[in-house]
Symmetry: D2
Subunit: 141 residues, 4 copies
């Protein structure tokens, strides 16, 4: 698969994820085995302390990891999360969250992925969450 | 802490979580060691296949587990997620998701929790996700 | 598969796991979707505080969960762990550890399992660890 | 804490872990935030397919991660595993396993760690497992 095909394919899938629009998330970059997604930390996605909700960090990390996995799967497949674990390192405070997903091992049946989520504030970039999980190919509809 | 105090305290905290309003989530019940939350599966919270996004199941499960933990902590404390793992059992299709959070062990420093997320469709109730994680008390602001 | 076939098949596989012999572990029971394993807490399997090593609780829980999964798979298959998470609830002190593995969802491609590990001391039985993970069928050799 | 103090302290603790002796494990190196442990893959620590048991990879990874965490904690403390997740990437075949534990974030109350486990065979070194978890300081006895 060429990089252009990959980019088109992931952007199409991303556009179909209404959750990504609700989060105002953007696909920053996609390359074989690596995907970066960014979303602003806005008032309507917070927990009770005013930081971004753990669910936001999870959703961005899981999605970045999922597209990283998809980038190494066959063209006719789509991807689903089997399981994902998140460790929260720091409160997610700042202007935006950036999730970097990476493939650790691409297998025939399963792909193991990690993601790191950073809080961006002005020039600073602080790691706020680590994810590790498993993705599985599914037939495209 | 009386059950009325507990209910008031959790409802207050829940109301401050803007993420819960964005998801149109409702606190169904709270009792010592157990919390139930429900949210409709709506068009703007889906993944690319039309099922609810894994991030929605995670966010509801994590929040139900967090309030279950808070219910067994001291009155002056609040709660944060240390880490959480989710296994997705089935696509989250239906009218709504219901998350049932439970305390498995309340320790002085940490509380171990689980949550199960069900997809509700008409009269049926299907388990779609299992979560297991750790909560920590933090000073209330 | 009859229960006798299942029992024979699991006992054969268990006997080939030399790790189980090193831990002096015994297969207590096997039934469709559920497996119980027990091992003594002995001096040579401890951590630096004198409790059983987390690795012992993990190994027993993982193995009980694996055989629970195998019990619902086809006769010609064997089973491997995809991923497993353990939360340690209490120090594993006592005479023996007992691991109870259970199938939460048996799928065509993957099986989701949980396990609980108990420390046995005289008449008491205390929960010391919770596990949640994923098993995959593999071709039998 | 000087590096000599750190090395002495970790070697003393390691020597008290009888499980490490049973596995014939050796402490290869310890430095602030990083610990390497190695153990031979021997006949009595295998699963039913002849590869090293998942429990061996877990035990080595968990222990390397634990000492990495201890290396950044106060001198009077010891360390325990709160929770740990392992993804198995490949069958653990070869002469030995090497676990590399690393601190990802050292907090006041908790330390987040990762570990990678490699199978060593002749000159080759293959990644067979990834771990991500949480360590907690405990009073030294």
């Amino acid at each position: 698969m060429t990089d252009i095909t990959l980019e088109t394919r992931v952007r199409d899938s991303f556009a179909r994820q209404t959750m990504m629009q609700t989060l105002d998330a953007q696909l920053v970059s996609i390359a074989p085995g690596r995907c970066v997604i960014r979303a602003p930390i806005v008032d309507h996605l917070k927990q009770q302390h005013g930081a971004a909700h753990a669910g936001l960090a999870f959703t961005l990390g899981d999605t970045a990891a999922g597209y990283a996995a998809l980038s190494v799967m066959g063209e006719e497949t789509d991807v689903m999360t089997v399981e994902m674990k998140i460790n929260l390192l720091s409160p997610a405070l700042g202007d935006a969250l950036e999730a970097v997903g990476q493939v650790m091992r691409a297998g025939k049946r399963l792909t193991v992925v990690t993601a790191e989520v950073f809080a961006l504030q002005g020039e600073t970039r602080k790691s706020v969450a680590l994810l590790q999980g498993t993705m599985i190919p599914v037939a495209q509809r």
